[in-house]
Each structure stands twice: as C-alpha cells, then as structure tokens.
Symmetry: C3
Subunit: 154 residues, 3 copies
C-alpha cells in the first residue's frame, strides 16, 4: 500500500481525481440550493416540507425550472465524463507514465471540467462549453490509448 | 496483490463498497419490475413485447408514472453520491487510516444510503431523506479531506 | 505498481474495463452528432450557435426528439451498469481469481454491453435488449459474490 503512495504519479492522480469528484459531488448541493430558493421540487414530500399546505400548493411547487434543469444537465455531463476519467486514469497511473506527462493529462482534464461547469452555468456562448467537453474527452482517450497499448490482454 | 488483501481497511472498503454498488445496481431491476407490473414503458419495442398490439396501444403504454419516476430519481441520486464514495473511498483506504476510523466512515455511509433509498421509496416525510443524503455526503467529504491532506501533489 | 501489471488477470481487467468505459464515453459524441444533424438542442446557447436567430428559432430547436432520447436512455443504462462493473470488477481482480474464469466474466460482460447498445439503438425487438442487460448484471453479481465471500469484513 505504502508503495503506491511512494509513486508521485499516484499522488497526482489521487489529488486531481479527488478534486474532480468533489467538483461533481458539489453539483448536488447546488441543485438543492436552487430548488429551495426557487421553491421548485420533484417530490410532493419536499414541497410539503417547504410550505406547500395542500394538493394545490404541492402542484404549484412541482414544476420544472430552466435553471435547475441546466444544473442537472451539467451534473449529468460530469457523471458521463468524470467517471471514465477516474477509471481509465487509475489504470493509466498504474502503467507508470512520466510524472510530467501524467500531470499534463490530469491538469488539463481538471481545468477543462471546471471551465465546462462555468461555461454551462453562466452560461458562456458556445462553442466554449463544447470545446471544454472535447478537451476533457481527448485527455481520457489519450490515457486509454496508453493503457490499451501497455496492457492489452483480450 | 495479496498485500492489499492483508490490509483490514482494504477488506472493509471492499465489503462496504460492494454492498453499496449492489444496492445501486438493484434499483435497475426495481425500475423494471414497476415498468412491467404497471405497463409503463419508455420504448415502443418494450410496449410491444408486453402486449401493445398497435400504435394506439403503444402510446397508451408509453407514459410517465410518478412512482417509476421516483425510483429513477432515487437511482440517479445513488449514481451521484455512490460513485464519488467508491473513488474517494479507494484513495482514502490507500492513505492507511485506522481500521476503526475507516469502519466508522464506511458503516455510516452504507447505512445512510440504505436509509436514503427507504426514505425515498416509502416515501418518509422530509427531512429524513435530505438528512440521510447530507450524512452520506459528509462521510465522502471527510474522506476527501484526509486524502488531500495526505497526498496533495498539484 | 509493476507487481499489479505482472498479474494477467489485472491486465485483462484493465483491457476490458477500458473498452467498456470507452464504449460508454462514445455515447456522448453520438448524442452530440444526433443533436447537431437534427438541430435538436437542450440549451438556448446551443440553438443559437447552430443558426437559431431569435427567440422563435431557439424555441423551434429546443424540443425533444425520440431518437435522441433513445441514445440518452442507452447512455444512462451504461452508467447504471458499467460503473458497478468497474468498481466490483477491480475488487474481484484483487481477490486473485483464475485467469480463465476472470476472462470469461470480462468477455461476457463486454459482449453483453456492446450487444445491449446495438439492441437499444437499432432497435432490435425485445427481449434481446432485456436479456443482454440481465446477462451483464449477472456477471457483476457473480463477481460481487466472490468478492464478498473472499473479503467480508463488516
């Protein structure tokens, strides 16, 4: 176990992996914050807890709001892109890449995903969001290429 | 490989990690069960396989049902919260925490997520579901704090 | 680190894990391709970047399309099933199974998920998609059974 922690590449993976997972996790409270301040809920029991007094009030609170749907799409995009990074990134780390190459991959990925969230939530005009999404995916593909080149065992 | 399995913390992580992943996976068949017993489908070919004879019948079966949407939101919340636990929890395990501290984290997380599903599906009145969600997230943040404190390599 | 890479089971896990994660990741660009060719968008800034000139045009482009929803459901099903495979599969690999047994698990899973996507997107008549979903889940349950039998530490 201590051996893994002696590898600087593994420390870098752990640092950036934790950062992007925390960033993804943070979208949950953000959705909750928007739901509570705008009184827009997906469940009748939530509407009730926030002041809906009868069936009429619950219906009023249970609607869709474009800003909340935007946060949820951003969260979903994180799931779709950060999960493959975590899995492929761990295997990439174990193939023993150069520290500088690995850091380049991890930093670009983390930066692209943080920029992607900002571009989604502000929102910035396209193609800023689309490009940051492509950059992050490119990093994951580059790591996957090295993993498959190194370990291929079908 | 056998070294990792000599670590009791790693055995505990493997046990609780597998339990929460199985719990999450189980939401799939549960959705399927509701869809089949209530005849509510998302795809025309599913409606056809369950007795819809023509376009009219397919349309009748392809609707949204509040209980099925509830199961799906519960499943989505699992994805959003269990995935970061699995990733950050593995890194946390490799930082070599005390067995008792690690067990406390894993047990509280697993308990909070099982309770969260029950609170979502019964449904129990709020804030029971919201609190169990916060407790699970607190465990993940606490593990992430230890990971970043131990490995930080930017 | 090099120890793990000396294990053939770990090489096999890395290969098949990377393949299914890439397959899942590929659903993102596929959704993007359909959105761009059909001019169906979820965000007003995307509609604007693809030629919507005013509010009227944006509304026209922001609709739901049954084929795009199909790709998105396929992507979501991947997330729900491939993520547990990656987590439980890593732990299964570390329990030191026979190479032939492990390869059998990984190959059936990868095959079932690739067939699942084809069955979802063509679409093939049911129960082809349902069966491939069950086969993949069966593999994950079988691996989880071995993990829990080997490591159980509650």
């Amino acid at each position: 176990m201590s051996e893994l922690l002696n590898s600087e590449v593994f420390l870098a993976y752990s640092t950036y992996g934790t950062i992007v997972l925390l960033k993804m996790l943070f979208m949950g409270p953000l959705t909750g914050y928007f739901r509570m301040t705008r009184k827009v809920f997906a469940n009748p029991e939530d509407a009730k807890a926030h002041g809906a007094k009868d069936e009429e009030g619950k219906k009023k609170y249970m609607r869709t709001d474009p800003d909340i749907e935007r946060v949820r799409r951003c969260h979903q995009n994180d799931l779709e892109n950060i999960v493959p990074f975590i899995g492929i990134g761990l295997l990439y780390t174990l193939t023993g890449p150069d520290l500088s190459t690995a850091l380049l991959h991890f930093r670009i990925f983390a930066g692209s995903r943080i920029f992607h969230s900002i571009a989604y939530l502000v929102p910035l005009p396209q193609p800023s969001r689309g490009l940051s999404w492509l950059v992050g995916m490119g990093v994951t593909f580059s790591m996957a290429y090295r993993v498959l080149k190194t370990v291929m065992h079908l």
